[in-house]
């Protein structure tokens, strides 16, 4: 059975697109045929992060409107032939996506793909609503910061009341916490909310912590999902997350400050 994953947050700029690109690549690299869809109509960006911006011909809205077939619009990833990208439209028309149309495209994708990753736009408007509506699993991307945590909590309320599963009284969406841009050294100084703090408030199943990392900008500069940078901390953190999602047990490697014994001993940062 195909599974639909929404990557959502409420708050903008917390790392949804970075995460969508990384986990879609991770799932495909593990041998699962995966599609990743950009729901951010008008502000397409996933194509840039995936490095396929020059190959976009048709987009999600074209497919919904019957102006292109799904096969024409899907872009096969250059690094992994099990991964396909469906780019967002750059139209300014807010109503370009309809629930019926999105449902139709997802149903068609489900026949052929194992995982369908939906990169949600920020906010709680139509685009974000449609990105989560059909989901089976939700990755709630949260930064250790007050407004992000609050917005995540609101998004959890929406997932449990406004999704298809909620409306049809089916089993609820599986919700997972992804804490990103985490800085253990600042947590240690009491300057930043810790994993436990955020867990106390949101009480979600923690899928993983992604550290604040320079490798994320490097990856987006070059248009390769950070998970392919296997030496980087963020890349490894995303690889762990994919493995855990697929049922493997992995220790959490990026929660504690591990900047070397001597730096720790003398409290250097």
């Amino acid at each position: 059975m195909a599974r639909i994953i929404v990557v959502t947050s409420g708050k903008g700029g917390v790392g949804k697109t970075t995460t969508s690109a990384a986990i879609a690549m991770g799932l495909a690299k593990k041998g699962h045929k995966t599609a990743v869809i950009d729901f951010d109509v008008g502000l397409r960006n996933l194509d840039l992060i995936m490095g396929c911006e020059r190959r976009v011909v048709y987009d999600f809205v074209n497919v919904i409107n019957g102006e292109a077939t799904l096969n024409q619009a899907l872009i096969r990833d250059k690094n992994c032939n099990l991964l396909y990208i469906l780019p967002a439209s750059q139209t300014r028309d807010k109503d370009a996506l309809s629930q019926e149309g999105v449902g139709r495209v997802l149903d068609e994708l489900k026949k052929d793909f194992k995982y369908i990753v939906c990169d949600s736009p920020a906010g709680i408007e139509k685009g974000a609503h449609l990105a989560m509506y059909f989901a089976d699993d939700a990755f709630v991307v949260t930064n250790p910061e007050v407004s992000s945590v609050r917005d995540s909590d609101r998004m959890l309320g929406i997932l449990s009341s406004k999704s298809r599963r909620a409306e049809q009284n089916e089993e609820p969406i599986n919700e997972f916490l992804l804490l990103t841009r985490y800085a253990p050294e600042r947590v240690k100084l009491g300057e930043m909310l810790s994993v436990d703090d955020v867990q106390d408030i949101l009480s979600l199943h923690l899928l993983g912590v992604i550290p604040e990392s320079k490798s994320v900008l490097n990856a987006s500069n070059s248009g390769t999902p950070v998970i392919l940078d296997e030496k980087s901390d963020a890349g490894q953190a995303y690889a762990d997350i994919v493995a855990r999602y697929l049922g493997e047990e992995r220790p959490h490697r990026f929660i504690d400050d591990k900047k070397g014994f001597f730096r720790n001993l003398f409290g250097g940062n």
Binding site: V146, R150, D153, G157, L189, G190, F266, G267
Partner: protein, 88 residues
């Protein structure tokens, strides 16, 4: 923990404050989500009526709505000013 951390303890970070504020806010927002939408209007009108008789401030009145499996409770709480009895 490093040696210097022992000296740093006095320097209180702001994370605990963030957590405290979030816990209060999130708890409040979770309960208010299930409240009937007429509640703010009810609160406003009640306040107007009460203010005709007693000099109370905006925040002296609270209306809360609670729901469990068996019943719905509407709780109205008015804090009267200390010196009110003498004036009337």
């Amino acid at each position: 923990m490093s040696l210097l951390d022992y000296f740093r303890i006095s320097k209180v970070g702001t994370a605990s404050l963030a957590k405290e504020r979030l816990q209060i806010l999130v708890a409040h927002e979770r309960t208010s989500k299930h409240q009937p939408s007429y509640l703010p209007q009810l609160q406003k009108e009640l306040l107007e009526v009460i203010q005709k008789y007693v000099k109370v401030s905006q925040d002296a009145i609270s209306v809360t709505f609670e729901q469990d499996e068996h019943q719905e409770t509407l709780e109205l709480n008015i804090v009267l000013p200390d010196n009110q009895a003498k004036n009337t």
